[in-house]
Symmetry: C2
Subunit: 131 residues, 2 copies
């Protein structure tokens, strides 16, 4: 990892792939990742970790299956939300968005349990920026 400050705008400008996070820095055994997103991700759950989202550009929606039923939270630019471990969720962005995530290194984009992964979703633990 570089030991210089990194502009998130430059990081986002360095790739085009959707739903394919890039790791911008590490904090202990956690990754800070950024991703460009558009359309729907897949329903999935992380059994052993929470997952943090910050919206950098656009609007992100996260559908959640909770004990009381299903709901969708809407995150405009500059909003944050943490999906609790074990909660099935499906991010989506009908008009596109850029997001920052914070989660343990090795966390898969499709979690430990998931629907069939469509071709437009990258099942990955994050890519090194610039690769």
């Amino acid at each position: 990892m570089s030991h210089e400050p990194l502009a998130l705008a430059d990081a986002l400008a360095s790739f085009e792939a959707l739903w394919s996070p890039r790791i911008v820095t590490r904090v202990n055994d956690y990754d800070v990742r950024v991703a460009k997103v558009h359309g729907e991700h897949v329903w999935h759950a992380h059994d052993d970790t929470d997952e943090f989202f910050l919206v950098l550009e656009g609007e992100l929606r996260i559908s959640l299956r909770e004990p009381d039923g299903e709901r969708t939270v809407v995150l405009p630019r500059g909003a944050v939300f943490t999906v609790p471990r074990g909660t099935e969720h499906r991010p989506s962005a009908p008009s596109g968005a850029a997001i920052l995530m914070f989660e343990p290194t090795g966390t898969s984009t499709v979690g430990d349990r998931h629907e069939a992964v469509p071709a437009h979703v990258d099942a990955t633990t994050g890519h090194v920026l610039g690769s």
Copy 2:
């Protein structure tokens, strides 16, 4: 912690204190904190953890004492930087800034080793938002 999205602008508008982080959400045993800063913090080091910074508004500088000498990195709005564990550092913001940090819950703002803490620096492990 609320289980609704939180606008960071609203979180920042809810307090005035400088160098006094508010915890906006938790991710496993980590805090996401925001702070308003202006002027100089204090030289300090966290022996057991890295510390992540994202600049939300303004410009943050972080002076670092590294094996090869001292340097200062400059983070404009939208830039990120991780201070490695054990590295003495001193954040400053001559013109003021708003920042977001990730670090383990319980991490002190003045680290495990620090200079005398001046009155304008809040030695804290973070305050609950709204308190």
